[in-house]
Structure formats: structure tokens, C-alpha cells
């Protein structure tokens, strides 16, 4: 089990902040949406650091997952909240860990049910190996090369990240 401290994670968040600042255009501000729950935790930090004016959107992708017939309904983590129209907007989609890419695919499907954005930028705290879809992040806090059997998880309260064997 590898543990990354909150100092490490703060450094990764700063990386993301810098990359996002370079994306900021005065006449076309982006609208940030976090994927519940980890992406919302990361999104909150970035949202306040970048001093964004619009509220942080939140997506609950439980109803868009592609593993429903195998796994059933995932724990429901509160409703999606997208208080601003996404039509024609630049969306920054935030998640904690990008692995298979299936969560991001589900999130994009959901975003398109709210409207047609002009562009979606994917920002993740950790991009790990194990992709199953052609989805990569545009903004990355930190990249990790780990075996498929390992699990990377963000602990929101302490803002630390652990890498280790999947819990059975």
C-alpha cells in the first residue's frame, strides 16, 4: 500500500489549477462540473482556488453506468445538480481518478442530456493506467503507473490518496 500525503495532493491540485488557468478565456468562461463524490471533492478545491463565479455543478452518474445489468444500481449519492445551462458552454468535467474511462463516458452521456456543450475538458487529480476506453484527461494533477489489480482512492476528508490491493 502506497500512501500520498495531503502535501502531495495539494501539489497535484496546484498543477491542475495552473493548467486550468491557462485555459481560462475572459469572454468564454468555463463551467465546472464534478462527478459525485470524489470529483466533487476535487472540484470544490479547484472551484474556490480559481474563484469561479458560477456554482459547481454535480453529476450523479449512477443512472448512466454501463454495468447496471451486472452490478445493479450503485449506491445513490444524491441527485445531479446542473444549475446552469450547458448549451454552447465550455465544460470542465472533474473527477478524482481516471482509470477505465467508463465513469467519464457515463458522465458525458449525462451532460449531453442536459444540453449540447461547445467543448468538454476532462480534469482529473490522478490519471492511472488501466484504460478500457479511448478517454484521456486534458488536465492531470498526477499520473501513476499501477497494476490493474490495484485500486487508487482519494480520501476526501484528509485529502490523501492511497494505492493498494482492491478490497474484496
Amino acid at each position: 500500500m502506497t500512501q500520498f500525503s495531503s502535501n502531495d495532493v495539494t501539489g497535484w491540485l496546484n498543477n491542475m489549477q495552473e493548467q486550468l488557468q491557462s485555459l481560462t478565456v475572459a469572454d468564454d468562461p468555463f463551467f465546472m462540473i464534478g462527478i459525485r463524490t470524489g470529483g466533487v471533492d476535487v472540484g470544490r478545491h479547484l472551484h474556490s482556488a480559481l474563484d469561479l463565479q458560477e456554482p459547481l455543478g454535480q453529476l450523479n452518474i449512477s443512472f448512466y453506468r454501463d454495468d447496471f445489468s451486472k452490478m445493479g444500481l450503485h449506491p445513490v449519492v444524491g441527485p445531479s445538480q446542473v444549475p446552469v445551462s450547458v448549451e454552447g458552454r465550455h465544460i470542465v468535467l472533474v473527477d478524482d481518478v481516471l482509470s477505465s474511462g467508463r465513469t467519464v463516458r457515463a458522465a458525458m452521456n449525462e451532460i449531453f442530456d442536459f444540453g449540447r456543450p461547445s467543448r468538454i475538458t476532462l480534469a482529473v487529480l490522478v490519471q492511472r493506467t488501466g484504460h478500457e476506453l479511448p478517454i484521456r484527461a486534458d488536465v492531470v494533477g498526477h499520473s501513476i503507473d499501477v497494476p490493474d489489480s490495484d485500486h487508487v482512492s482519494l480520501h476526501a476528508q484528509s485529502m490523501t490518496v492511497s494505492v493498494g490491493r482492491k478490497a474484496k
Partner: protein, 329 residues
Amino acid sequence: MRRSDPQFNQFNKLHHFLSIDGLDKATLTHILDTAEGFTSVNDKSIKNVPLLRGKTVANLFFENSTRTRTAFELAAKRLSADILNIDLVSSSTKKGESLLDTLRVLESLQSDMFVVRHSDSGAADFIARHVAPTINVINGGDGQHAHPTQAMLDMFTIRRHKGAFEDLTVVIIGDIKHSRVARSGIAALVTLGAKEVRVAGPQTLMPADVESLGVSVYRDIDKALIDADVVMGLRLQNERMTSATIPSTGEFFKTYGLTPERMRLAKPDAILMHPGPTNRGVEIEASVADGEQSVILQQVTYGIAVRMAVMSIIMGHGEEVREAEMNQA
């Protein structure tokens, strides 16, 4: 206990939704929490979610009900399922085909879920015990027995407007005896830990075993209403009454009708609920049904999210059952 309960499959997961009886507080709360997630689908320009894409839901209505059928139909469509509406009131069951023959035919049409509405108590239970193991059954109301999705949408409405059940006094008024809505509602309120559940109505419209359900029984509606947080009216079910159990509807209104004066006995912020359709001037005055305290129309709206929750929870275990079947074969 659960092993013999037809609502659970061999993995102890909720597989059919037939009755509130036998479900614990955690299960009911899980349904309410899931429904909460589905309320946000109305915020989207495309109101469907892809969860049940490729599944087929058959509405088997052996008894007429436009509201319930429409609510299930819309819930299934919002979940991207295909829906078959099968009107069995005027169909082959009249031509002498047995219920089991009808079931076999519907199974052959590759349905994944049956929503059953029937005038006989226990019909949904019977069907659940006899369908193929991969098919899920929801009770959309059976005789005087149960109407569990109505109970859950009522609980959802109460929780949305009033919060924690532990602090609430709920009064159910009218024809308790013939009402599956009342039976299921009482079971859900007791399981969820409501402070007090009161029932009020004429003795002829009270079930014989009513006290055993965990409620306080009132003959005097005015006393029952004092300090209530939630007032639930019920429809006077003329079609289920076999003999004269009340003198007249006018008399019933005088003694048990919900009037603005009576509503003032409840707490000032009390909500008024009714499963519909309302008989105005029989169990409820129009000004109360349409008044500020009325949440009757919200109940209808919440009914969609609650039915989406129930459908997606019980349909989520299909693969497990199919795999177990394959292994046995």
C-alpha cells in the same frame, strides 16, 4: 423469515415488490433515497436515463386504473425501457384462458417485468410465485390487500415536506377497511418509525384487526386531527362495498368529510394528502383538496421518481439470477 418471503431472491435481494410487509426500515429508506436521485431527471432537457435500455416492462392491468398505469408507463419510459400496456379487463381472461396460461404467453413475449393490477387480494403474490425466475413483479394494487408503490410515494411526499418520521403524527381518515392504500401506508409509517399513526372513520369502514397494525383508532375525526402533521384522506370505495356500510355519502361528508374548519384542528403547517381520485363533497371539500396545504398534485409527480426507484432496484439483480440458473442447468 426472508427465505419464504417471495419478495426476495436466493441471494436475499429484493426481487419483487409486492407488499410493504416484510421489508425493513433500511430497505424502505433505500427506496426513498434512490427516488430522491431520480427527481433530478426532470431538470434535464432529455428526461430519460438509459438504465433499463433494452428491457421490456409489461403493465398487466386486470382492473382499470388510468392513473397508476400512466405513472408506471411514464416511469418505465423515463428509464428507457420498452413498455407494453396489456388491458386484461376485456381480454382473453374473459375468454376462459387461465391466469397461468396468460402468464406463459406474456413470458414468451420476452418481458422482463410485470406490473400487476388486480381486483383480487393476493393476485400479484400468486403471479410472483409462478413466473420465470428472471422476471420481476411489482404489485400495482391488489384487491384490499396492498398498494406498495402508492405507500412509498406517500412516504416520499411526507419526507420531502416534513423530514424525519420520528417527530410526526399522521392521521388517515375514511374508508380504512377497503383501502389497500391505507394498509400499505400504515405498514410503511410504522416501519419508518412515525411517532403516531391515527386512523379515523366509521366502525363499518374499519378492518376488524385494525389495532394490531400499530395504530390508534378514533371514531371522532375532530379528535384525531388535533395537532396532526400529516392528514391523509382516502377515497370512499363504493365499488368495493358489498353492502350498505354507510347511510349516505351526504351523511359521511357531514361526519367524516375534510372541511377547512376540520383542517384547522391540525397543526398550521400540516400537509393534506389524498391518493386520488378525490370524491369532492363526499370525503373532502373542494376548497381543501385545492387549498394551500394540499400536496395532492406533488404526490402524483413524486410517484414517477418513486416507481423509477423501485423498478431499477429490483431489476438490478437479473444477471446474478441468470448466472445461477445457468449453473444449475
